[in-house]
């Protein structure tokens, strides 16, 4: 369930787009520094969103450096850096979630893929330990989610709400860690809950046909409805609507244009692309 939290490039200002790219590259660099060259390949848009949100909440972005891309030396790029541990926290989050995804995939995958996962898993296992040591709170949230998710999938006929609950709670508690007071905690918690719910459900919507064919677990398969696409769309719309209500109450100053773009254009257009297969705005793949 990665890569749904995207921007809509066509609606961004050029300088905003460049700032977004720098945060992405900055996070990539940080992952290389904290963990390894290999983990940089697991970088996702979701973690970029998380890093951006943190840097915005703490107002910790302290500028951009020019450099060259490690994967493509011909390409120039700039790296964002921050005064606090926002980027390092986001890279830990990325490593932790990739690790748990691998653990999860071992059970569900086919023979060859399983072998590949078994080969790379020990590496991630090592980095995961390191991330856990640095950010035990973060790791606890994700670990708890995995437990809850297993229980839900084993239960009989879980509802859409119950199936999405573990991921929603995970993101909710991850964001709650950042709150300095109770009110901000509630707002961040509500925001995280509905974004997490959206991520889980859009992933389920994306895999719907595959899961139906292969008999995999999918919450929409249990929904008693004639028009499953419309159910998906309505449910997902509501997640974004409620997340946006909470988002409005956050005190966002830095990167506001970019985060607004994601909330209002990026996520809904991604959703339309997944559900209705509409032409997505093409992104530069190497950002």
């Amino acid at each position: 369930m990665f890569g749904y939290l995207q921007i809509q490039k066509s609606e961004l200002l050029v300088r905003e787009y460049e700032a977004y790219k720098s945060v992405y590259c900055g996070l990539c660099k940080q992952m290389g520094k904290d963990y390894s060259f290999l983990t940089r390949l697991s970088l996702s848009y979701d973690c970029t969103f998380y890093a951006m949100l943190l840097m915005s909440l703490y107002r910790s972005c302290s500028g951009f450096d020019n450099g060259r891309c490690r994967f493509n030396p011909l390409k120039k790029c700039s790296y964002a850096h921050c005064q606090d541990n926002s980027l390092s926290k986001a890279s830990a989050f990325s490593v932790i979630s990739v690790y748990y995804k691998l653990v999860d995939d071992i059970q569900d995958s086919k023979f060859f893929k399983r072998i590949i996962i078994r080969i790379i898993k020990p590496f991630f296992s090592h980095w995961h330990k390191k991330a856990k040591k640095n950010y035990p709170g973060l790791e606890g949230c994700v670990e708890k989610m995995m437990q809850m998710q297993n229980e839900v999938e084993q239960s009989e006929n879980p509802s859409i709400d119950a199936a999405a609950h573990p991921t929603a709670v995970m993101l909710s508690s991850v964001l709650r860690l950042e709150a300095k007071d109770e009110i901000t905690g509630r707002v961040l918690g509500e925001f995280g809950y509905h974004i997490g719910r959206w991520i889980y459900l859009i992933d389920a919507a994306d895999d719907y046909e595959k899961d139906i064919k292969n008999g995999g677990f999918n919450p929409f398969a249990f929904a008693k409805t004639e028009n499953v696409k419309e159910t998906m769309n309505n449910t997902l719309n509501q997640c974004l609507a409620r997340a946006y209500d909470a988002y409005q109450l956050l005190n966002i100053k830095d990167f506001k244009g970019i985060l607004d773009n994601m909330m209002l254009y990026g996520f809904p257009s991604k959703q339309n692309a997944v559900i209705f297969g509409q032409q997505e705005v093409k992104y530069d793949r190497s950002i």
């Binding site: 809509q8 609606e11 509802s159 859409i160 709400d161 119950a162 609950h165 929603a168 009110i183 509630r186 707002v187 509500e190 809950y193 509905h194 719910r197 696409k229 419309e230 769309n233 309505n234 449910t235 719309n237 509501q238 997640c239 974004l240 609507a241 409620r242 946006y244 209500d245 909470a246 409005q248 109450l249 909330m263 209002l264 254009y265 996520f267 809904p268 257009s269 959703q271 339309n272 559900i275 209705f276 509409q278």
Partner: protein, 205 residues
Amino acid sequence: MTDPYEVLGVSPGASDDEIKKAYRELAKKYHPDNYADSPLADVAEQKMKEVNEAYDEINRMRQKGKGTGSTSSSSSSGYGAGSSSSQYYSVRVYIQRNMITEAEQILDNVPSGNRSAEWYYLKGMCAYRRGWSDEANRYFQTACEMDPNNQEYRAALNNMNAQRSYNYGGYNTGGSMGNSSCGCCDICAAMMCYDCLCSCCRGSC
């Protein structure tokens, strides 16, 4: 004390028109109607209050003395504890205080033969507060089917429908066109209902 200009997000050198515009935008953003059934209604209300105070403060500092257009935020969040004659008064109070577990405990103890439209409505409200929007939707629908004339239940369902059909800037071309054509009327009706409810509550307090 916080700088009132900072609250409105304008510079101290801003013109009166700019301040008014900033104020209007923020007032629209934090309007209680946007947070009608939300668990964050009180936070929005607090923000609204801050914005109102900042606007008044700036007006005072600029010695206009007119107290222009500062609408005091309507204190009720649209979700009233209702009349005390209601069977589920304590449940409503718990929901209002965000004590969802307690509210649900009472509701779940009601035997399934005695479950009225109000029961389904309140059960939906609990689900909604927990973030279980899909379940909430089903409960609200049942409540409306059982008692089609109740404006409170209708307003909650309309709020759901508005959230479910709104696709922001995603250029919604697929699916629910049927919903959106009557959505506007529904929203207006819902707002009128809330207005009635708000004034009722304030009157009774």
